[in-house]
């Protein structure tokens, strides 16, 4: 594992001028979800990262959870008028600038194929490529951590090559092994826990990515760049 620079820096790129109107809905009493309109892409996620910074600064906020081009804001108290909260979130979205979280670069050694790659044949069938090509396309790409969630330390990675998109299973595997390197739709990631999982495994990584006793329990953070290093390919 290699971890380098963990700083915030704006990236000078052309950003579409119109963000479009986000959608805000509530979950129960204190939690409000803002969903970005449009594509599932890096520009949208940069606005979400920027929005997260703003909302974290509000005095009445308990928790901010950036998701995949969306953001869940949990307030300390149940608001009297939920419409006021929705308006505040929408205003913050409209004013959000593009923020690039230029995080660490993390290299994850992967054993592609072998006994953990239970779904590699299905991925090949779906995309019409050989196992060797699927694996190569997977490790040649560079991924960004969009958000964490679903399991302690699990990072949702963006940047999967569309040639190897693979829908989630309709019937999840009951016991996917921890460390399985998986594809779920347009996303990829490394399973953090052994258990039910609807994503598709094509390899295995031996890397401790969560430690509850550490001051920074999760290895990955939004904005980090992940590269998979093929240490073994067993096809």
């Amino acid at each position: 594992m290699i971890a380098t620079s963990n700083t915030l820096k704006p990236l000078h790129e052309i950003i579409p001028a119109i963000k479009g109107r986000a959608r805000v809905s509530c979950i129960g009493t204190r939690s409000f979800l803002l969903e970005a309109p449009g594509e599932f892409d890096l520009p949208a996620q940069r606005w979400i990262w920027s929005l997260a910074q703003t909302v974290k600064g509000w005095a009445d906020i308990a928790e901010v959870i950036p998701g995949m081009t969306n953001l869940l804001a949990i307030f300390k108290e149940t608001p009297e008028d939920p419409d006021i909260i929705a308006t505040r979130l929408l205003d913050a979205w409209n004013n959000a600038e593009s923020l690039d979280l230029a995080g660490k670069v993390i290299e994850i050694p992967v054993h592609y194929g072998g006994s953990y790659a239970i779904d590699l044949p299905a991925i090949c069938d779906f995309c019409g490529l050989s196992d060797r090509e699927v694996v190569r396309i997977h490790y040649e790409a560079s991924y960004r951590v969009f958000a964490l969630g679903s399991a302690p330390g699990f990072g949702y990675l963006h940047g999967l090559d569309p040639r190897i998109y693979m829908p989630r299973k309709t019937v999840p595997s009951l016991r996917m092994e921890k460390g399985s390197v998986t594809i779920g739709g347009m996303q990829t990631g490394v399973a953090m826990l052994t258990g039910p999982n609807g994503w598709n495994s094509l390899g295995h990584a031996e890397l401790q990515m969560f430690d509850p006793t550490s001051a920074t329990p999760a290895l990955l953070a939004p904005g980090d760049t992940v590269r998979f290093l093929p240490v073994r390919i067993e096809l």
């Binding site: 969903e35 901010v64 998701g67 969306n70 949990i74 149940t78 679903s150």
Partner: protein, 331 residues
């Protein structure tokens, strides 16, 4: 120090939870009936958030190796100390060697054993709660088993307890004005329509009008409901987003899931509604096989209920302090 003498699966150490780490995928966890833990802690003279034992598999037995002050809250069963029935929602003093036994409560699901000083297990990420999914926190990240021994922490409360104990009127009774009673054995649970409610069209109305049963595949992570399946009018591929306890998701099979204390931190199923937070403890006390119905609520109503709970908690705190101070003055 206590030693576990008999325990079924899934009895764990819980406090009020580990909020603040959902953004790195860590569930908040915490007691399924947090109100019972708060009241128990106030009674024995602890801070509100001290760790207790959540018993959800009965019978459960422990031995007090050293003596200690404790209270049993939550469920509607009578605890037994060396075979003698005790009042629940009341402080008691145990002598060294005495055995506390909890039997299956008649109606409710979970009991809490709260000790003066609390259970002395390490604080991880701000909480002593057991994260069963993560395998950390509480008692080595796992349920309690026979032979486990746990010590007590210290209590900052210097006031003496009356030997006969301090009892409290339990929340279900004290707060009956703001918590509607069961109707024909069906528990009313208040919820607010959530993000994808409109996607269910007429089935959305069926969600509110029918009676759901809590299925046997329910646990601290979520309650699965069985009933007439409800289906969205279109399949939507949702992007993964943060979720919280109380969210009611509808997976493709059409039978809703309510996320509970060990709620996943991210989800992608359509959300039809969200249970108001102040009703979650009642769900936490609802047993597998029991029936419930959803009642449309509002933020304003939720606030009214929250304020009533806050008044009740403040009243318990103030009154128990008064009793103890009076006792000290007399002594």
């Amino acid at each position: 120090m206590i030693e576990i003498v008999e325990a079924g699966p899934f009895n764990t150490v819980q406090d009020l939870g580990r909020p603040g780490y959902r953004d790195i995928g860590v569930s908040a966890c915490g007691a399924m009936d947090p109100l019972a833990v708060r009241i128990g802690n106030i009674l024995v003279g602890n801070e509100d958030n001290v760790a207790a034992i959540e018993v959800q598999t009965f019978p459960f037995k422990l031995r007090f190796e050293a003596g200690g002050v404790f209270a049993v809250t939550g469920a509607d069963g009578r605890p037994m100390l060396d075979g003698r029935e005790l009042l629940a929602w009341c402080t008691h003093i145990a002598e060294p060697g005495q055995i506390l036994e909890l039997k299956q409560p008649p109606k409710l699901a979970r009991a809490y054993i709260v000790f003066r000083g609390g259970l002395d297990v390490p604080v991880l990420m701000g909480s002593r709660s057991t994260s069963l999914r993560g395998g950390f926190g509480g008692n080595a990240g796992r349920p309690l088993v026979k032979g486990d021994r746990i010590g007590f922490g210290t209590s900052s409360d210097a006031l003496p307890l009356p030997p006969s104990g301090i009892a409290v009127v339990e929340p279900a009774v004290a707060l009956r004005d703001v918590f509607p009673a069961m109707i024909d054995g069906v528990l009313p649970i208040r919820a607010i329509a959530a993000g994808e409610h409109e996607l269910f069209a007429a089935d959305g109305e069926a969600f509110w009008s029918q009676t759901w049963r809590i299925s046997s595949s329910s646990d601290r992570t979520g309650y699965r409901l069985s009933g007439e399946p409800i289906k969205p009018t279109a399949t939507v591929e949702m992007r993964s987003h943060g979720i919280v306890p109380g969210v009611i998701q509808v997976p493709p099979g059409g039978e809703p899931i309510i996320q509970m204390s060990d709620a996943n931190t991210a989800g992608g199923y359509p959300k039809i509604a969200g249970v108001i937070e102040c009703d979650l403890w009642r769900l936490g006390q609802a047993r597998i096989g029991s029936r419930l119905r959803f009642v449309r609520s509002t933020h304003a109503e939720a606030r009214t209920v929250e304020q009533a709970i806050a008044r009740y908690v403040a009243d318990v705190r103030q009154t128990s302090q008064m009793v103890k101070r009076a006792l000290k003055a007399m002594g």
